[in-house]
Symmetry: C2
Subunit: 213 residues, 2 copies
């Protein structure tokens, strides 16, 4: 069966997946961009941006894996945008412009219904109001035998971990402290939930750790 | 003035400096030994054990730095031993045998007075009942212009960090999850306390991050 995978999820050494005070000017919270220093220079990311080449090696290998065999994505509402509460209109279409980097169906968790949005490049945003299990079911169906990538944010990943639904969790620990923000681990005992470290590789910019059950 | 330094302090990616259930059979708590995989093979540690040579490189450089220019140590009670409450007798003299690896005066924080113990190789254990400021004052005096190393455990380091007394904090993040145990970061905002990452180096076994104010 297709797996639910968290890939390339960057964390500070104090466990934060985003900084505090997310908003239109700080999609990743204050300081949150620093978590992604390992990812930005990679060939995988630079090509996504249409910038020609980038670095190869451990970081790029993980970055490329993040888009390999992925047939659908799941995102939390806050990762899709800074708007809270009911959608005021249909103007907000994500942080990523007309051609988002997903190129698959993307299921956005929200408490507020909204019509699907077809973007350029094969990305379609669907809004799921029936909770995490329903979103996973729909994403699996849409993935056509490929895997489902759970993009984030932190709170959404925590919900899926607590429900025992994540098959693979790749964390990229960045040499950064954020001090506050969204903590992945607080009150979550991953060892007790059955996760073990099954892969570990370091680059100068990050420590990559893969957890599976 | 001599600095108060935390050096070679190993943490899991979920922030634990020791596993749960410390006791006579698990001085570092269950699973806690895994945190030190980067340290064990180093030349610095192997020579301390009288085992001839070990590895050199990033991990050994940090391991050696941990014993360089150190004139005194401070340890929490739990790092000194598994006994809680009043000392039942004078038999317990630490985990380390007759010749502990400190070779300096060592100030052990405790609520229960006890006479100092002179060990082989220059280590003397002094027991301080007047709190963390008093222990630091006595350690600074004893260090004779050299630095004071705060050995741990996690709870003791947290106290000194919260009091703003730590000048340098070297963390070695190990690719390990513990799930529970003693968490260094819980409720502690190191960014707000003024710490910044001033050094970062990875080895295959650890991500070394040095924080200073």
């Amino acid at each position: 069966m297709s797996k639910l995978r968290v890939l390339c999820f960057s964390l500070s050494i104090d466990g934060f997946g985003a900084g505090p005070n997310q908003g239109i000017d700080n999609p990743l919270g204050v300081g949150g961009m620093d978590l992604h220093e390992w990812f930005i220079p990679t060939r995988a990311f630079q090509r996504m941006q249409g910038n020609g080449d980038g670095t190869t090696g451990v970081d790029n290998d993980f970055a490329e894996r993040g888009f390999d065999r992925i047939g659908a994505w799941i995102l939390g509402r806050n990762m899709f945008g800074p708007i809270r509460g009911p959608w005021p209109d249909d103007l907000w279409k994500g942080w990523w412009g007309d051609d988002p980097p997903y190129h698959t169906p993307v299921f956005v968790l929200t408490h507020h219904p909204r019509a699907s949005i077809q973007m350029e490049g094969g990305t379609t945003f669907h809004f799921v109001t029936e909770g995490i299990h329903a979103a996973l079911k729909r994403a699996r169906e849409a993935a056509g035998g490929l895997d489902v990538r759970l993009g984030g944010g932190t709170a959404t990943i925590r919900q899926y971990l607590q429900a025992g639904l994540v098959d693979e969790l790749h964390l990229a620990i960045s040499p950064v402290i954020l001090g506050s923000g969204e903590n992945l681990f607080a009150g979550l005992d991953l060892a007790k939930l059955g996760y073990k470290v099954t892969e570990r590789l370091t680059s100068p910019a990050a420590m990559h750790v893969v957890l599976t059950k």
